[in-house]
């Protein structure tokens, strides 16, 4: 096996330089829970691994006024133990918490989950549904992008060579705004989502939806923001007719494949089910604040 080089830079600039100066394939190591599996199986053969965890700010959650700022390498366990974040966005925390086992939670990060670019990534739908901004560092300095702009297809991202995610800026919820995430798996743990759904809603004082984002995972090459599902919710309370319209919109947005984790037919049906169930939870949570 060709040998790999390893660097653990202590600043963003150093990391950028290391990535830019690499001969051949350079991979960023945050939690490593996907990277090491790929390395071990021989699916990727990097020449350089850049461990970003020793860069200040890469691990941790900061409360910055209108945003929660989450370091890109922050492990899942820190998200679920952050009371402020969990209260604000239970759906985001639920999604992150569903990535793998407790052991995986000790390592796996939002950035890794996003950049692994699997359409089934559990943390991604709720992060996108909350209109999260991603901060990216690269040779040309920093830039910001909406979270949904990162993944462009299975295993592919919009990050340029040498770029990496530094942090996530998640807007704080407005009044009567909340979210939920559910996924379906055959067991109760340890599976990749057959379908995932993150739903983020804002209600008025009467419980009528004024804004919504419904994001499906594992039903297309990338996560899908289902505009028609949001339309089905906005202007309505969550009655049976609204749920039926939501279900229909969610199913209509699905362009899944049949693989070892699910069939086209099954994924499509379950997408509708999860859209309804997450909406019910998100409405209840939003109404309660």
């Amino acid at each position: 096996m060709p040998r790999v080089n390893y660097a653990a830079p202590s600043s963003v600039d150093e990391a950028v330089k290391a990535l830019a100066g690499a001969s051949g394939l350079a991979k960023v190591l945050a939690g490593g829970t996907d990277l090491l599996v790929q390395l071990r199986s021989g699916r990727i053969k990097p020449d350089l691994i850049v461990d970003t965890k020793r860069i200040p700010g890469m691990i941790g959650i900061r409360d910055e006024g209108n945003f929660f700022v989450i370091g890109a390498a922050t492990p899942g366990v820190m998200l679920s133990s952050h009371a402020g974040l969990e209260h604000a966005w239970p759906g985001i925390v639920e999604g992150a918490d569903l990535i793998g086992s407790t052991q995986i939670q000790g390592r796996a990060s939002l950035a890794g989950n996003l950049c692994n670019a699997s359409p089934a990534a559990d943390s991604v739908p709720a992060v996108i549904a909350a209109r999260t901004i991603v901060v990216i560092a690269g040779a040309n300095g920093r830039r910001e992008a909406p979270a949904e702009a990162i993944c462009t297809g299975p295993g592919r991202t919009s990050l340029a060579t040498g770029e990496f995610i530094v942090e996530f800026k998640i807007p704080k919820p407005k009044a009567h705004q909340c979210d939920a995430y559910l996924r379906f798996i055959p067991r109760t743990e340890m599976d990749i989502a057959v379908v995932g759904c993150g739903t983020n809603v804002t209600l008025d004082a009467n419980g009528v939806c004024t804004d919504a984002r419904v994001v499906l995972g594992a039903v297309a090459p990338t996560t899908v923001i289902v505009e028609d599902a949001a339309k089905a919710l906005i202007g309505h309370k969550l009655d049976d007719a609204t749920l039926a319209a939501l279900d229909k919109a969610a199913q209509a947005a699905c362009k899944p494949i049949t693989d070892k984790r699910g069939t086209i037919e099954y994924r499509t049906k379950v997408a509708g089910v999860l859209a309804r169930r997450t909406a019910a939870i998100a409405f209840e949570r939003a109404a309660a604040r």
């Binding site: 379906f184 599976d191 099954y266 049906k269």
Partner: protein, 763 residues
């Protein structure tokens, strides 16, 4: 002697801590991959990426030239073994097939089939070298499904395979290795009398034993021809026998040392790596370690057979079954030898039937060669039969336990496979289930309850044990069975009971092939029964010696000495008046009374009593996703006598859980090229802790008179009922019968969609 009076027992029936326990909770126990040898190399196996291909050329020259590579082997480095069958592992084994399974010769027969191996100074170099071995294949059409493999025109795996059991011998080769039949009574007459006939087809999938420890060994092949094999297996004597046969080595030149074994369930009753590692070691003169990755375990080892089960049952309206017919088509994998025989024999063994006809087919296809898995053969056929019996009970409106009781096998029942049952405890399991509080609880919406029963023969066989009294009065027990689930504890308990000393004074050891007499492997639920019998007899021989030594000390006749509570007493006042002598008192003087006190017993244990079980399962079905939650599970089993009840319960709970996995989610997924698409624990979905409730156990004790303590094998029958119990519970919950395993969420949702349009779905 017999120790069937439970009230008189002091050690047997208690729950002491296992002797090897501390080593296993602090990480000190040495499993297959934990051993090293000086100068050891790392081996790696190259495997076929094709399901079926002729190997036209293997070029190892580039790999051999890589710095750090010391040996490369292919089939050319192994003797070409003739077609010869023997009973060494679990079931008849054809040595030619086994040799070719360890290393493909001429053809690769499944994705993952070993085609070459290397040994190098590091695992990284070995991996690199494997990639440098160039194999040219002529890819052949392949077949995965059992019925497709049986069809005319299916790709043939073996040109020389002609179906056995058909007269006259077929003229054309076939993938059907064997056809067997069992007949009792007159099936046509039976069905003519039936008032209701139910005929159904069911299917099961091959499943992996999924022991958490991958296969591993460390071996050395000395220049003097003497070999050491340290490996994780269900039997060191099995490893020795297979390595000797496959490589042409005298058994005396192989010392097989049993590592601690990280699970087997039947899957480690044959060899994969050991002969390959020995061939590598022979070639380079250095010790070699070979360890499988999880992917290799899935692609190259196991699984248990899956298959098709066609059941036809005829009954009177009273519920009395008057005719039963069964056709089994079992997957054997790439080489003949599915457990279709026991599948046939166990299928109706729970029932007292007059008219039965059973046909079984052993079918090869381009999958790994099947290995034994807990009650091999029985879970598949029982899933079909116990589902069909449940359908019958529902159709007739009879309680399923009552229907079973009406038709239950009992002492005097002549089984469909011939023998008349004696000393069996099936009906007590039905009664215990019926009377259990679980069976009476109410169920909520979308919840259902199912019951099912199961049978397994259990086996005895050859076992050796020795008992040595140490100078200080403690005792060593040496046995020949790897301890796969606490058997050291049972051995020590039985020895302590016979000797009348505390359990802690007895230390058991699992011997290597040079330090204890031949012992058949750990399998067939035989260890506590057969090896326990050997230990008991050896301990009894020691007691006889202790009595004669006490007699020598007292200078009286040995017949005048009694052994009680670990001490020698004069047998009555005529024998003389002496203070009792403890085992320790006698041990310290053993040199003066004739030398060390020790006994070894080797036996071929006969009369292993069969095991019956009845299970109750409650489920809840999510009608929108098809997800099944196991709400409650109770396993009732006739265990004969529980030597260490905790480990008996553990066998029941583990078997149930494996059965639940088989029922709900476990399956092999192949792509169109016949490559395994889920060779890992991510997508081969064994149950995890959060999937399950506590597994309740009820141990019914109908002692087996053949065993000194009344023990029966307990390890296998627990996996027999669960698939039907779960299926019957699902049918109760949703009103639809799932006849194909696994009963995974997509299948259940599809079944529900056929039933009625889903509520709230888009119109």
């Amino acid at each position: 002697m017999s120790y069937l009076d439970k009230a008189a027992l002091k050690v047997v029936g208690t729950r002491p801590i296992r002797p090897d326990g501390v080593d296993k909770v602090i990480g000190r126990a040495s499993f297959g991959a934990d051993m090293t040898m000086p100068g050891m190399l790392w081996g790696k196996v190259k495997r076929s990426p094709h399901a079926h291909a002729r190997i036209t050329k293997i070029d190892t020259s580039k790999a051999e030239k890589l710095n750090g590579v010391l040996a490369v082997v292919t089939a050319a480095d192994f003797p070409n073994i003739p077609n010869e069958e023997a009973f060494v592992g679990e079931g008849p084994m054809n040595f030619r097939d086994l040799s070719r399974n360890c290393m493909a010769r001429d053809k690769a027969l499944y994705d993952g089939h070993a085609v070459a191996a290397v040994a190098a100074t590091s695992s990284a170099i070995a991996e690199e070298a494997v990639d440098l071995i160039e194999v040219e294949y002529e890819v052949l059409p392949h077949v995965i499904d059992v019925e497709e493999a049986m069809a005319d025109g299916a790709p043939l795996l073996h040109d020389d395979m002609f179906t056995q059991g058909i007269e006259p011998k077929p003229e054309k080769p076939s993938n059907v290795a064997k056809r067997i039949t069992f007949t009792k009574g007159d099936i046509a007459k039976g069905f003519a009398e039936a008032e209701l006939v139910i005929e159904r087809k069911y299917s099961t999938q091959p499943v992996h034993q999924a022991y958490i420890e991958p296969h591993a060994c460390v071996v050395s092949y000395g220049s003097d021809g003497q070999c050491t094999v340290f490996s994780s297996s269900q039997g060191q004597f099995m490893v020795r026998a297979y390595c000797a046969k496959l490589l042409g080595i005298d058994m005396a030149n192989i010392r097989a040392i049993p590592a601690e074994i990280g699970g087997g369930f039947g899957g480690k009753t044959l060899v994969y790596l050991e002969p390959v590692a020995l061939a590598l070691s022979k070639k380079c003169g250095r010790p070699v370690k070979l360890v499988m990755s999880r992917e290799e375990v899935f692609r190259g080892t196991g699984p248990a057979a899956g298959g098709v089960i066609e059941v036809k049952i005829g009954a009177k309206k009273s519920g009395r079954i008057v005719a039963a017919e069964l056709v089994l088509k079992y997957q054997a994998g790439a080489f003949a030898g599915s457990p279709v025989g026991p599948g046939c024999m166990c299928a109706f063994a729970m029932y007292d039937l007059d008219n039965v006809h059973i046909t079984g087919y052993d079918v090869v296809s381009n999958r790994p060669k099947v290995a034994a898995y807990r009650a091999p053969g029985a879970p598949n056929s029982s899933y079909g039969v116990e589902s069909c019996v449940d359908e019958l009970a529902r159709e007739l409106g009879i309680d399923p336990l009552a229907l079973r009781e009406m038709n239950a096998a009992r002492d005097g029942t002549k089984t469909p496979y011939g023998p008349t049952l004696v000393n069996v405890g099936y009906i007590p399991t039905l009664e215990a289930a019926k009377n259990h509080e679980h069976y009476k609880t109410k169920l909520g919406p979308n919840q259902g309850r199912g019951v099912a029963s199961g049978f397994w023969f259990n086996i005895g066989g050859e076992s050796s044990a020795s008992v040595h009294v140490n100078e200080d009065g403690t005792v060593a027990v040496v046995e020949g069975n790897p301890d796969i689930g606490g058997s050291r504890a049972s051995m020590a308990m039985m020895a302590a009971e016979v000797l009348g000393i505390p359990y802690e004074k007895v230390r058991p050891v699992v011997g290597d092939t040079a330090s204890i007499g031949f012992t058949f492997l750990t399998g067939g639920s035989r260890v506590t029964f057969a090896t326990g019998m050997a230990v008991t007899q050896a301990a009894e021989k020691v007691v006889e010696q202790l009595k004669s030594r006490a007699a020598a000390i007292w200078d009286i006749s040995p017949e005048a000495v009694e052994w009680k509570d670990g001490k020698a007493f004069p047998a009555g006042s005529n024998a003389g008046s002496f203070e009792p002598l403890s085992l320790a008192d006698i041990a310290v003087k053993s040199g003066r009374t004739g030398g060390p006190i020790t006994a070894e017993v080797s036996i071929n244990a006969q009369g292993a009593g069969p095991g019956f079980a009845t299970h109750i399962c409650d489920v809840e079905v999510d009608r929108e996703t098809g997800h099944v939650k196991i709400l409650r599970y109770t396993a009732v089993q006739d265990v004969g006598r529980a030597i260490h009840p905790s480990y008996v319960e553990g066998q029941m709970q583990g078997g149930v859980t494996q059965g639940i996995g088989w029922a709900l989610n476990e399956e092999y997924i192949y792509d169109k090229n016949g490559r395994l698409d889920n060779p890992g624990f991510l997508d081969y979905r064994v149950p995890v802790a959060s999937d399950l409730p506590m597994i309740e156990t009820v141990m019914v004790e109908v002692p087996n008179p053949r065993h000194p303590f009344g023990a029966r094998g307990v390890g296998e029958v627990p996996i027999v009922p669960p698939m039907a119990a779960v299926a019957n519970a699902i049918a109760d919950a949703i009103g639809t019968r799932m006849r194909d395993l696994p009963m995974s969420p997509p299948k259940i949702r599809a079944a529900l969609d056929e039933q009625e349009p889903p509520r709230l779905a888009a119109e």
